[in-house]
Symmetry: C2
Subunit: 221 residues, 2 copies
């Protein structure tokens, strides 16, 4: 009996564990579906039925995890925060070792996204920022956190090369400029349905950074 | 009789003219209402009833001039094309004569809009570009035309100072960089609900342009 009881307890624990795994998988599917749909077509334009179809879930699961659409959006933005480093930054940093080229490697990642989507999908965070920043305070804070995390990754890389810049260079401000360049350039690439605007903006940014590095190497020492 | 007939014709012409003026005024009210609402809350989030209320029109007038919501949007974007110079560019050019400072004067105009709206309204064209560029081909073309007109105004001003830049400077590309900086910086100012990001990006752009001018003045000759 004792052995059977242990077996029963084990089975019960196993069942609960399976159930937990299944629940986690369902939640993850909903978040990924939300991310993809919000990215492709915007938050307002995404319907509950599209989310359910894409996630392969029923509405009970959706409302269990996310009582409101905004709750799903908040989960999506937290998921973006968790995934920036493993999905966007680390693959670049593993491939490129020069800290300046790492920054341009990140920008090249966004170019690849434009190529794959034929300039039809922008930065997921930038899209949501322009759609939602004014009317969703909790969302706005998470959008700002996503921007900050991206900017800090760039700043960290520039700091690895801080001795190559003129001493007066404000690397926090420069890293923010890298972000504004990416966001503005992605926007124009989508409007023109062409990579030219993106490439042109990145070339200008490179010209600027090269001038700073030249100044750092000859005047700043 | 002849005199009376002429009077009747005159009255009829006058009535038609009044009717035309009234129709033009109604159409203009609808376009302005569309512009303001799309700017403030986005295209998808704007309802017919909001447009009617804001324009002070009935639905018959709206559907007479604009059978679909997209027709109104197209009229709004054409109105933006017509109004860029008189509303955005000329007031700056009348106040500032230096061609480089004119460019920063245009950027300062967007800063003023951020101040007035407490960073809650971005560039009307940029907002619509991220919301609509993918799914509305006619709209996308008009968005691109609006961007091009803005960029050309900046390029024209930079060309007035072309002898101050290094000979190799690509002023078309540089003017596009001014546009990407403005759009990216407005986006971040809205997400952070702060002017700091805007000011920081404009400072970086100024640093870059000053370096080009310095190079043009000492090395490029």
């Amino acid at each position: 009996m004792q052995a059977n009881l242990i077996l029963l307890i084990d089975r019960s624990t196993q069942n609960r564990s399976d159930e937990m795994n299944e629940q986690n998988a369902t939640r993850e599917n909903l978040v990924r579906a939300g991310f993809e749909l919000f990215h492709r077509q915007g938050y307002g334009a995404t319907s509950v039925s599209q989310i359910l179809k894409s996630a392969g879930c029923n509405s009970g699961s959706l409302y269990y995890f996310f009582p409101t659409k905004e709750d799903l959006l908040i989960a999506v933005l937290n998921w973006c925060l968790e995934n920036l480093w493993p999905e966007v930054i680390e693959p670049v940093f593993e491939r490129i070792s020069d800290p300046i080229e790492r920054v341009f490697g990140i920008l090249d990642g966004y170019r690849k996204m434009l190529v794959i989507t034929e300039c039809q999908q922008g930065c997921p965070i930038g899209n949501l920022a322009l759609e939602l920043a004014d009317n969703h305070p909790r969302v706005r804070e998470l959008l700002a956190q996503n921007f900050s995390q991206w900017r800090q990754a760039v700043e960290g890389s520039l700091r690895m090369a801080s001795d190559r810049f003129p001493e007066s260079t404000d690397l926090e401000s420069l890293s923010l400029f890298v972000l504004t360049t990416m966001e503005g350039a992605v926007m124009l690439a989508r409007a023109y349905r062409s990579l030219d605007a993106y490439d042109s903006a990145v070339t200008q940014l490179r010209n600027y950074i090269e001038r700073l590095l030249l100044e750092g190497s000859t005047w700043g020492k």
